[in-house]
Subunit: 220 residues, 2 copies
């Protein structure tokens, strides 16, 4: 556990759900940086995220949330990673200079919007257990089956583009492992679970996947 | 115009489209920071983004793109802003310490995903001129009219949540203007243009909108 520049132990608190893909992005990030934070499991199946205590923390009713030492609640995976990156400088995962930071932010964002959010579209608009829950958040939203199909096709196009990228360089954002690899790894595993597996012929994506999955952080 | 720490003039190049909302996020950011960058207009109506020269720059075939001095092409608005923020430290718009940076990143991300992308869903899945172009990018994608309706409802829920937020503080991320205000401003104007205007009863959102629209950068 890294010790931040303050007195006393870390009083941050991480609101997680061990089975959900969004908080896994933060779990892998924490593991790569070697930070341990006291963790609270939020029972999404029981609807704990809609209860008053959690809603006060995050009116968007989503995990992950990082509660800072002063009580400030940070939601959204990439914002939590930003906090951790700025506070714990060792093992940078979001770049070391303006150019690197921008390249990593670009790939991370693409992986989130065209990969992760598309996989979510494919999954949440079809899964029988998510009827009326086609979007995360406080409001019930009906599924659109045409959107599940479109999301699936979009994930497959995204995989093909990433395969081309990974033919050129070992990691998503270039020569080093970064937060962009974390978002892609979580997307690939989430999509496979949602029955959109990586096509076997995408050999560069597969090579990358095997390498990144072998890192200890992938178990997080 | 700010002078970076290098010899000679800025050779960065900004690929813009004056009528499109995504690059407007960067135009406002540049104006707020007082940076002038040589700009190239990409003719989206004529399909210039699909031509070989632009596709080599950005295989996602979207604007904005910032081409750096060494030829590296950064696409995705938030990644371009990250570069500018890291390179030009004056007038910070993405926070000054880990906590501020995280709060701003959280609100910016919410405004993008629940506001801007939802407005895009509402618009691109219905506009007659965008038949077959329901998503930006290199591939044609059919419109889903149920998604246009869902996007519209989502934008309205987003406006209501931001109205609550802006009852508590003058700007989206707290006491100071930030990139989160830029994303919200562009979302409000884009949504209005897509026939999802801010409801009149959201008085805090309206107060914020009038204040932020009066800044010189809003004309960008």
């Amino acid at each position: 556990m890294m010790v931040p520049e303050r007195e006393g132990p870390l009083t941050m608190k991480f609101y997680d759900c061990a089975t959900a893909p969004s908080p896994r992005r933060v779990r892998i990030f924490l593991t790569e940086k070697g930070i341990e934070v006291p963790t609270v499991q939020v029972d999404l199946r029981a609807g704990e995220q809609f209860g008053e205590p959690f809603r006060r923390l995050n009116p968007w009713c989503t995990v992950p949330v990082l509660e800072l030492d002063d009580g400030t609640a940070i939601s959204e995976a990439v914002a939590i990673c930003r906090y951790l990156e700025e506070r714990f400088a060792d093992s940078p995962l979001m770049g070391r200079d303006p150019r690197e930071k921008a390249i990593i932010a670009m790939w991370e964002h693409r992986c989130e919007v065209d990969g992760f959010l598309a996989a979510q579209e494919a999954f949440r608009n079809r899964a029988p257990g998510l009827k009326g829950r086609a979007l995360t958040g406080a409001t019930d939203v009906e599924q659109i089956s045409a959107l599940a199909d479109r999301g699936r096709a979009r994930v497959l196009r995204f995989f093909a583009m990433l395969d081309e990228r990974l033919a050129d360089c070992p990691f998503v954002s270039g020569e080093a492992f970064s937060i962009a690899d974390i978002t892609l790894l979580v997307t690939v595993d989430f999509a496979a679970w949602a029955k959109v597996p990586m096509p076997g012929e995408l050999s560069s994506l597969r090579r990358w996947y095997e390498m990144v999955s072998a890192r200890p952080s992938a178990k997080a």
